[in-house]
């Protein structure tokens, strides 16, 4: 916790970062002022888009001492309001997993090259971004910790596979290369508590380092203070668990 007599400053702005296939995409970067070196976090936005909540969350990580970068995974869909762009991506069935992984690898490399970042980078995501965070932790080398908040479709039946999501993230569990924090709600219909249990069993089977927390009386998206899904108690506790997890594995 910061002290009331401490100086604090922050820089937050949009930047361009490398993405999949060498594309340049835009991203929102927030970082504490000062030389650092700071640990860092890549934030993966949810299906509703690269929206205001994600800008707030990016600044929240910076307030807690992290250089935080939220790439716009919908960059290629064109520009407009976050909702209009996200609606276009929704109509197309989402963004391809391989493209997302390329974008996240680009963001990881961008952060690691910054002179004020200490090289230790976590990946965080909610909703579809939680799924992507898990996928990245398994398939993009270099992340030091991963946070999956209620990511659905980690456990997928063959019928649920799509051209954009051709393989279940669960299938890559053997390759998970960093500690994992998972936050879930008992009332969520995707992932259901049963699907989270399947995921946890796979993590145990492969001897992975993880901690899962299942909140009663919470459903999907319980951090979103702008939605009816917000649950104050689980949200406050969940954020505390996130920063404790990052402190343990990245320092700050």
């Amino acid at each position: 916790m910061y002290q009331t007599n401490a100086y604090e400053g922050m820089l937050a702005e949009t930047v361009s970062v490398p993405g999949a296939r060498g594309d340049m995409i835009n991203a929102y970067l927030a970082r504490p002022l000062g030389p650092g070196p700071f640990p860092a976090v890549v934030l993966i936005h949810h299906m509703p888009g690269w929206d205001e909540w994600y800008r707030e969350a990016t600044r929240k990580f910076a307030h807690h001492g992290y250089a935080a970068l939220s790439p716009n995974l919908y960059y290629r869909a064109g520009h407009g309001t976050p909702e209009d762009v996200a609606a276009q991506v929704r109509a197309a069935g989402g963004v391809p997993d391989e493209q997302v992984l390329g974008d996240l690898a680009g963001s990881l490399g961008y952060l690691r090259a910054l002179p004020y970042v200490n090289g230790r980078v976590a990946v965080f995501g909610t909703c579809s971004g939680g799924r992507h965070a898990y996928l990245a932790a398994c398939r993009v080398p270099g992340f030091a910790a991963a946070i999956d908040c209620w990511g659905g479709r980690v456990v997928m039946t063959p019928a649920e596979l799509t051209p954009q999501q051709p393989q279940a993230p669960l299938d890559f569990t053997a390759d998970l290369a960093c500690p994992l924090l998972g936050l879930f709600g008992e009332e969520d219909r995707g992932p259901t508590p049963e699907q989270v249990a399947v995921h946890e069993q796979a993590l145990k089977q492969h001897g992975k380092t993880y901690e899962f927390h299942m909140y009663p009386a919470a459903g999907h998206g319980f951090f979103y203070h702008d939605r009816p899904a917000y649950r104050q108690g689980p949200a406050v506790d969940g954020w505390a668990k996130i920063f404790a997890f990052l402190q343990k594995h990245l320092g700050a």
């Binding site: 299906m47 509703p48 609606a87 929704r90 109509a91 479709r153 649920e160 999501q165 995707g190 009816p228």
Partner: protein, 91 residues
């Protein structure tokens, strides 16, 4: 969760968006997270003209029951119009 349940259909008509009227060329129907309706999932319909970019969109987010009622009403109105001989010749 993100259901990824979506289907698109080519359409012809006009829609009124934030910048006024424009031709609508595509409707995307999804059952997934809405942006505004206070629901975890909604039946979303986006009327768009892809050639005009993401902003050319007229959106509705409906409860499942509202969507069923709307679909039935559309079909009923068209049937009545057809019985009356009012449908355009091109249709």
């Amino acid at each position: 969760m993100c259901t990824m349940i979506v289907s698109q259909v080519a359409i012809e008509g006009s829609g009124k968006g934030t910048a006024g009227w424009f031709p609508v060329r595509r409707a995307a129907v999804s059952y997934d997270h809405p942006f505004h309706a206070p629901l975890e999932h909604a039946l979303n319909i986006d009327f768009t003209d892809p050639a005009r970019g993401p902003g050319a969109r007229v959106a509705v987010e409906l409860t499942a029951q509202a969507a069923r009622d709307l679909a039935a009403t559309i079909l009923a109105v068209l049937a009545e119009a057809e019985r009356g001989g009012f449908l355009e010749a091109a249709e």
